[in-house]
Amino acid sequence: MRVTIARDELLTALHRVQGVVEKRNTMPSLANVLLEAKPEGLDILATDLELGMRGLYKAKVEEPGSVTFSARKLYEILKEIKEPEIALSVTDHSLVTIRAGRSQFKVVGLPSKDFPPLPAIEREGLISLPGASLLQLIRKTLFAVGDNDTRYVLNGLLITVLTEGGKPMIRLVGTDGHRLAVADQVLELDKDAEFPEDTKVIVPKKAALEIRRLLEEGGDEPMIGFTKNMLIFRKSGLVLTSRLMEGNYPNYQQVVPKETTQKITVNREDFEGALRRVSVLSRDKTYAVKLTFSPDHLTLFSSHPDMGEAHEEIPSKFNGEEFSAGFNARYLLEVLTIMDGESIELQMDAPLSPCLLKETENTQMFKAVVMPVKV
């Protein structure tokens, strides 16, 4: 194998696979990238057996061939190289030589036959989505997804397609059992696009994180599709595949409170700032903050047994009777951070009932629910 490639092109490729390769050394080849030099360019693959990424990059291929070696080391080398062009060559024994200007690296690789194959894509059925709105959906839900939760399905992001008001909608849902985020987007489908109406899949958090990273690069519009147990995501000559999670997602619709007229309206930035300040003096682990809803203001209070207490009042509108409820400030802050618009609405019936949060300007497309703490 002999290839010449632009440093930036290869760096982009290696940057993309860093999140995919397995850092924990289960199988040495999972920490590797597979480089396949073909007449049409350099194919770069990485997988952790659940998630796979493959991309074709522009390169001058003088002699086709393939090799696999440490994704981390190659990335580290590339970051240090300032030359615009890099030459890669491989000897019979998988010894990779990297030349750039006056530098030369020899890195021990493994033959490509040791590299696990990426899952084969049987059927695609991809639909095109505006990348910016998919990114918004992920941004507004991924934060609520569980982390290493023993309730396995909560470690995934639910993607579902449904019809509401005669329009097809794509909905993403994330929850860790303490808070929940639901974000919707109308699907502008082509006439011939087939997107099974009853799509309901759970995407592993790691795959969702990688998709978010790819969308953040901007550029081409993505395509997304699902087979029975796989997610396929294509963008800018890249294909990302991920195993879907099996299991029953909890009935999230049941826990979203029904709309009532009793609402608290508050400026989003005021609320976020006050929460950040007051939570400095909350108990270390629980971040407990007490909110008191009054007709014309919202009071935030926290106290730490050894340190002291904090108190702040911000203007708000509330058409019900004054009451107080406790929250984990971190959970509220994470919701406020991803919300848009000047003001938000809170809806809560009693101190121990779920709290519904919405954007005042966009009440239908995003909902978050945060469960209170007993204080």
Binding site: R24, T150, T175, G177, H178, V255, T286, P354
Partner: protein
């Protein structure tokens, strides 16, 4: 605040509990055939040629002049018909932890001196449990009723006096030294009873004419200090019943773990998983007994080639639940580079132990419990009544097939 800054105003009450001939008593309790006989726990006497020493002697054996730390060969010669038994440390530890759990019912301030001896500061428990003597008597009774072992108890206002008191009427002694009676109590005791004075120091004190603690108490503190330095002042204070040392509860464990060595090295995944399940249950149960939760879990894997690998994970929420520990340990197993090799030993441990936070966070899906807290609690109570084997995960019931009726 006022009370704390002037300790003279509140009288501290300290109980010293000392198990009588602990190891030997445990053996006599576990093996009724040894009751009433001279039991000597320690090294193998090998007909008098054995090396090592006596770890504990029952009261029957003490009549023959056998005591702890005596070379085992001598013990054999003094009491050739004695019942010589090996030390079963893990058993004594188990019994000891039960006894300490009795102590902790009455106060958090428990300072262990060894497996069979502890100081308890019960000053803060008086309102709840009555007088110091009532608490001391109740502890002695609890130990007898629950563990069928005898203990000696000393109750006093200082650690030193409590310790002397518990030793005075062994076995099954019960001595209370009322407040302000400390000096009188110590007065006639021989100088050897001075805590911290070894045989040499006692000899030196005797050489200066101090034969009783009372004599030392009436000596001049300055004179003792110039003779024995700091220790002189300390001895003088002890002799006068002054002992400001506090009961320092045991530093909590840094990690809780369990290990198991296979009889035959194995690479069979079902056997490995089963063992991890059993270890996870043991670690979970111990975490709950200690009232702590682990933030970090570690899986240890020793291969047949004696190479040891370990992988750890840090949890977002600390746990004491068997199922969480088991599932995390399986995840760690996948991360081990040696998972396909034969295993010789497996270990599961929890560290970064924290007191469980009173979690008042409400949950969206009560039907999907975060951890099976209620189930675990029920299982624990069954096990504490009927023994560790009484209820187990089905996969661990490998012998059931043979035993199932019909």
């Amino acid at each position: 605040m006022e009370q704390a800054s002037s300790p003279g105003k509140t009288t501290r009450w300290i109980i010293h509990v000392d198990m009588d001939a602990f190891y030997a008593s445990v053996e006599q309790r576990d093996y009724p055939e040894h009751r009433g006989k001279p039991v000597i726990v320690g090294a193998d006497p090998k007909g008098g040629t054995g090396r090592g020493v006596v770890s504990a002697a029952s009261y029957e054996a003490r009549k023959f002049g056998v005591h702890s730390a005596l070379p085992i060969g001598q013990a054999y010669r003094r009491c050739p018909l004695g019942v010589f038994l090996p030390v079963r440390m893990s058993r004594y530890q188990e019994v000891s932890s039960h006894i300490f759990s009795i102590f902790r019912r009455y106060t958090d301030l428990v300072e262990p001196l060894s497996l069979d001896e502890a100081f308890l500061d019960v000053t803060g428990s008086l309102r709840l449990f009555g007088t110091p003597q009532a608490i001391g008597a109740q502890i002695q009774r609890d130990i007898w009723e629950e563990a069928h072992l005898i203990a000696s108890v000393g109750v006093a206002t200082t650690k030193y006096v409590a310790k002397v008191a518990s030793d005075l009427q062994k076995p099954q002694g019960f001595v209370i030294v009322p407040e302000n009676a400390e000096r009188t109590f110590l007065h006639d005791l021989p100088i050897e009873r001075l805590w911290g004075a070894g045989p040499k120091t006692a000899q030196r004190l005797r050489g200066r004419g101090y034969e009783t603690i009372g004599q030392l108490a009436s000596a001049s503190c300055a004179e003792l200090s110039s003779w024995l330095g700091k220790q002189g002042k300390h001895f003088w204070e002890l002799a006068n019943g002054i002992d400001a040392r506090e009961v320092v509860p045991e530093a909590p464990a840094k990690s809780i773990g369990a290990e198991m060595t296979f009889d035959i090295d194995t690479s069979e995944i079902s056997a490995i998983k089963k063992t991890i399940l059993e270890l996870a249950n043991r670690v979970g149960s111990r975490l709950r007994t200690e009232g702590v939760q682990a933030k970090t879990l570690t899986l240890k894997f020793r291969t047949a080639k004696f190479e040891t690998y370990a992988r750890s994970t840090t949890l977002q929420d600390p746990t004491d639940q068997d199922s969480t520990i088991y599932h995390k340990a399986l995840m760690l197993l996948e991360r081990l580079p040696c998972a396909t090799e034969k295993a010789r030993l497996l270990g599961v441990a929890g560290s970064h132990l924290v007191k469980p936070e009173d979690s008042s966070q409400l949950t969206l899906f009560p039907s999907m419990p975060e951890s099976s807290t209620h189930v675990t609690r029920a299982l624990d109570s069954i096990r504490s009544r009927f023994g560790a084997q009484a209820i187990q995960p089905a996969t661990l019931l490998s012998h059931m097939k043979n035993k199932a009726p019909g």
